[in-house]
């Protein structure tokens, strides 16, 4: 990942954009732009956050894994939110890893500055609490989904959520990458993707998944997609400051 010093005065990140002007101006000198690549790890599972990221473009995944390397995704984050909010905790046992699912661009800030701003109790404080509640709901719903729904439904939910967060129905993802993120056996993803392809819902060519029938894919998936979507819309219904 590389850094660039220039700061865009109109951020695309909805959380930054929703801050009152005075709070945003206070953060501005501390924000650094970072160019991110698919696969970049923003936060490792066993360490405190070394930066807090406000994504301007791109999608990241929050996941947990066991000692055998089996990983399970908890949540997908896009430009609506922040990653590294664990920085608000003065002590912690960190098990969540954050990794970029796509190339992207982000503003990043030091955890100390972020923590200080949070504990001022102004707008950022409320936005982050909303964010944490949304993340908790999404994680709980994802756990339920993984336990109760078949792979075709889970894959549909994941593709739709990814598309929502990235703002595009053309997804630059290999099936290998998806199987790693979902903690699934790779052939299982191949077979499930073929089932969706046979139904005319997606098309897959090497490294690119195209959602060709979004309405059909929404019918194919379980209710978890709608719950997660509604949660994000409710908690992240952020308004840009005028």
């Amino acid at each position: 990942m590389s850094e660039q010093p220039q700061i865009d005065t109109r951020p695309k990140n909805l959380l930054l954009a929703a801050l009152p002007e005075a709070e945003y101006r206070r953060l501005l000198p501390h924000l650094k732009k970072a160019v991110l690549k698919q696969g970049d790890v923003l936060h490792h599972s066993d360490t405190p956050a070394n930066s807090v990221y406000f994504l301007e473009d791109g999608v990241a995944s929050l996941s947990v894994s066991n000692s055998d390397g089996v990983a399970l995704e908890l949540s997908i984050v896009g430009t609506e939110a922040v990653v590294g909010e664990r920085a608000i905790f003065k002590h912690g046992y960190f098990i969540v890893q954050c990794q970029m699912l796509s190339d992207g661009v982000s503003y990043k800030i030091s955890p100390k500055v972020f923590q200080k701003e949070f504990y001022r109790g102004d707008a950022l404080h409320d936005l982050i609490l909303n964010h944490l509640e949304a993340r908790l709901t999404e994680t709980a719903q994802t756990a339920l989904c993984n336990q109760t729904h078949v792979m075709e439904q889970r894959l549909s939910r994941w593709l739709l959520t990814f598309a929502d967060r990235s703002g595009s129905d053309r997804l630059l993802l290999t099936q290998e990458f998806i199987s790693n993120v979902l903690g699934a056996n790779r052939p299982t993803i191949s077979v499930a993707a073929k089932a969706l392809q046979d139904k005319g819902l997606i098309e897959y060519t090497r490294g690119v998944i195209l959602i060709v029938d979004r309405a059909g894919l929404e019918k194919e998936t379980c209710e978890c997609y709608r719950v997660i979507k509604k949660t994000v819309e409710t908690y992240f219904s952020l308004k840009r400051r005028s």
Partner: protein, 131 residues
Amino acid sequence: MYNPTIFLIEEDNDARPILRDRLKNAGYKVTLALDEEDALDRVGGGRVKADLVLVNLLRKLPEDILKIGRNICRKGELDVPVVVIAAKFGEDLEGKDIQVSDKEYITYLEDGEQLFGLLSRLTRDIVQTRL
């Protein structure tokens, strides 16, 4: 029209129902086993008649799965193609179907189309012979 029978040994609970349904939709008859032990139980005494054996076992190397496929064929007196689906492999192998011996194949899937293409090629002769 002759519909070839595939003896599917699929250990993954997530993949099993999808693969079974896809195979049936593609015109195959499917006999199912849950794992190696279940497969060996079923084939004893020539009770399973199949035109192809398809094996996907978790957490095993393709070469080891191939040995299991051989044992299953031997016990079931099945002289048919065996296809092993590899689970973990490098980019250099992705998209390849490697013929290991006269009737043994390891497929390194890039996507599901590749598997069904291989199955179609391997059963084409059987279908034409039976017509």
